[in-house]
C-alpha cells in the first residue's frame, strides 16, 4: 500500500509546488536547453507517477497473487477496477488532447501557409523567406517537415538594418531547425488534457520563453548579441497595431537584458539540471517497476 501513496504524493508535488518554484527561479534562463529538459522531465514524471499510483493502487487492492480472479461481488475488486478505469481515462484524455492539438495546429498552419504563398513575395535571402506587403511590423515562422516558411512584413523590414534582419532570420531558422514548435505542442497537449480547475499553464509559459532564449542564443552565436537586441527593441517597441495585443507580462525584457549580460560559464549548472531531469524520470519508474520485477523473480525462483 506504500507505493501508491508515495507515487501519488510525488505526482502532486510535481504538478503543484515544483513547477511554481521553478517558474519563480532565474537560473533556468541561464541554461535554457537543460531547463526545457527539466520541465519535460517534471511533466512526464508527474504523469507517470499519477498513472503508476493508479495502477499500483488497483494492484495492491485487488487481492494477492494467489487469488488472481476478478470477483464482481467483492467491494475491494470493484474499487480496484474503478481506480484502474480512472487511470485509463487519464491516458485516453492525454492521447485525445495530443491528437486534437496536433491536427488543429497543422490545419491552421496549412491554411496560413496557403495564404502566405499567394499573398507574399518570395525572397532568396534564406530558403522559405516570404515578404508580406503589410505595414505592421511582424516576423514569424511556419514550421514544417518540408516547405517551412519565414514570413517578414515590409513594416518589419523598414525598421531593421541588414545585421538586425540577419539576426531575426537566424532566430527564426533556429526555431525551424530545432522544431521548437513540437516541444511547445507537447506542453500544450498536456495542458489541454487536464480539466481547467486542476491544470496550470506554468510549464507551457516557461517552455515558450525558454525556446525563445534558445533561438536567441543561436542567433547570438552567429551575429553577436547587439543586432538581435536592437531587432527585438525595434520590433517590440513599435506601437501595438491592435488593442489588447500587448501581453501583461512579456519575456521580451528578459530576452534583451539577457543579451546585455555577458554569458558566464554555465556548464556545471546545465549538467546538474540534466542530472535532476534524468533522476526525476528514473526514480519513480524504478519505484513502480521494482516490486513487479521482485515479484517475477520470486515467482521464477
Amino acid at each position: 500500500m506504500i507505493t501508491p501513496v508515495l507515487l501519488a504524493a510525488l505526482a502532486l508535488v510535481l504538478a503543484g509546488p515544483a513547477p511554481a518554484l521553478l517558474a519563480r527561479s532565474d537560473w533556468p534562463y541561464r541554461v535554457p536547453r537543460a531547463a526545457i529538459a527539466l520541465w519535460q522531465a517534471i511533466s512526464l514524471a508527474a504523469v507517470l507517477a499519477a498513472l503508476g499510483a493508479g495502477i499500483s493502487l488497483s494492484y495492491s487492492t485487488a487481492g494477492q497473487p494467489g487469488e488472481p480472479r476478478f470477483d464482481p461481488s467483492s467491494a475491494r475488486d470493484l474499487v480496484a477496477a474503478a481506480v484502474l478505469a480512472m487511470t485509463a481515462l487519464v491516458v485516453v484524455r492525454l492521447l485525445w488532447a495530443a491528437g486534437r492539438v496536433a491536427v488543429g495546429t497543422r490545419a491552421r498552419r496549412r491554411r496560413h501557409r496557403d495564404l502566405v504563398d499567394i499573398l507574399a513575395t518570395p525572397d532568396g535571402l534564406i530558403p522559405g523567406l516570404r515578404v508580406l506587403e503589410e505595414q505592421t511590423p511582424l516576423a514569424y515562422c511556419l514550421p514544417a517537415l518540408r516547405g517551412a516558411r519565414v514570413v517578414v512584413s515590409v513594416g518589419a523590414l523598414d525598421r531593421l538594418d541588414d545585421s538586425e534582419l540577419r539576426a531575426v532570420l537566424a532566430h527564426e531558422q533556429a526555431h525551424l531547425r530545432a522544431r521548437h514548435d513540437l516541444v511547445l505542442e507537447a506542453f500544450t497537449a498536456l495542458h489541454q488534457a487536464f480539466p481547467r480547475f486542476v491544470r496550470s499553464d506554468l510549464a507551457l509559459e516557461q517552455a515558450r520563453t525558454l525556446v525563445e532564449l534558445l533561438a536567441d542564443d543561436d542567433a547570438r552565436r552567429r551575429n553577436g548579441p547587439r543586432p538581435l537586441a536592437r531587432a527585438l527593441v525595434a520590433l517590440a517597441g513599435s506601437p501595438a497595431p491592435e488593442a489588447g495585443l500587448a501581453a501583461a507580462k512579456s519575456a521580451t525584457l528578459l530576452r534583451v537584458q539577457r543579451l546585455a549580460d555577458p554569458t558566464p560559464d554555465n556548464r556545471l549548472l546545465a549538467a546538474t539540471t540534466y542530472t535532476a531531469a534524468v533522476a526525476l524520470l528514473v526514480v519513480p519508474t524504478l519505484t513502480v517497476a521494482a516490486p513487479i520485477v521482485l515479484a517475477i523473480v520470486n515467482a521464477v525462483s
Binding site: R109, Y140, C141, D181
Partner: protein
C-alpha cells in the same frame, strides 16, 4: 540551409501569378482565359495552368462553376480580404493552436518599451570594447 527551396517549387510561385489574374478579372475565368493572360509574361503549358487552378480550388482559394463544358474560376475572396484574414491569424495569440506559428517578438506596453531601450543602451554602452 541549402535544402528545400533550392530547386524552387514551380507550382507555388505560379499560384500567386494565377491568383493575381483572377483578382484582376471582373468575372470568372476559364482555364483558357487564365492561360492567355499568364502566357503574356510566362511561357506556360495549358495543362500547368489547369493543375494550378485545380490546386487552388482544393485549397479553397478559388471557387469554380460549370459553364457548358468548361469550368470557370473566380477568387474565393478579394485579395484585401484574404490579407486581413492572414494578418488576423498571424497576430492571434489565443487558443490551443497558437503554436501554429512562432512570432519573433510580440508588442509590449509603453513602460516595457522604455525598459527595453534602457537595457539596449546598456548593451550598446558597456560592450563596445568586447568582440560581439
Amino acid at each position: 540551409m541549402t535544402s528545400e527551396e533550392k530547386a524552387p517549387r514551380p507550382l507555388g510561385d505560379l499560384e500567386r501569378l494565377v491568383m493575381e489574374q483572377l483578382w484582376a478579372a471582373s468575372e470568372a475565368l476559364t482555364v483558357r482565359q487564365v492561360h492567355e493572360r499568364v502566357a503574356t509574361t510566362r511561357d506556360l503549358a495549358y495543362t500547368t495552368v489547369m493543375t494550378v487552378l485545380d490546386r487552388l480550388a482544393k485549397k479553397e482559394l478559388t471557387e469554380r462553376e460549370r459553364d457548358g463544358k468548361a469550368w470557370r474560376y473566380r477568387a474565393a475572396a478579394p485579395r484585401e480580404e484574404l490579407a486581413v484574414d492572414l494578418m488576423r491569424d498571424a497576430l492571434d495569440r489565443a487558443g490551443d493552436r497558437r503554436e501554429a506559428l512562432v512570432r519573433f517578438v510580440g508588442q509590449v506596453s509603453d513602460e516595457e518599451a522604455a525598459l527595453l531601450r534602457e537595457a539596449l543602451a546598456k548593451l550598446d554602452g558597456d560592450t563596445s570594447g568586447r568582440a560581439g
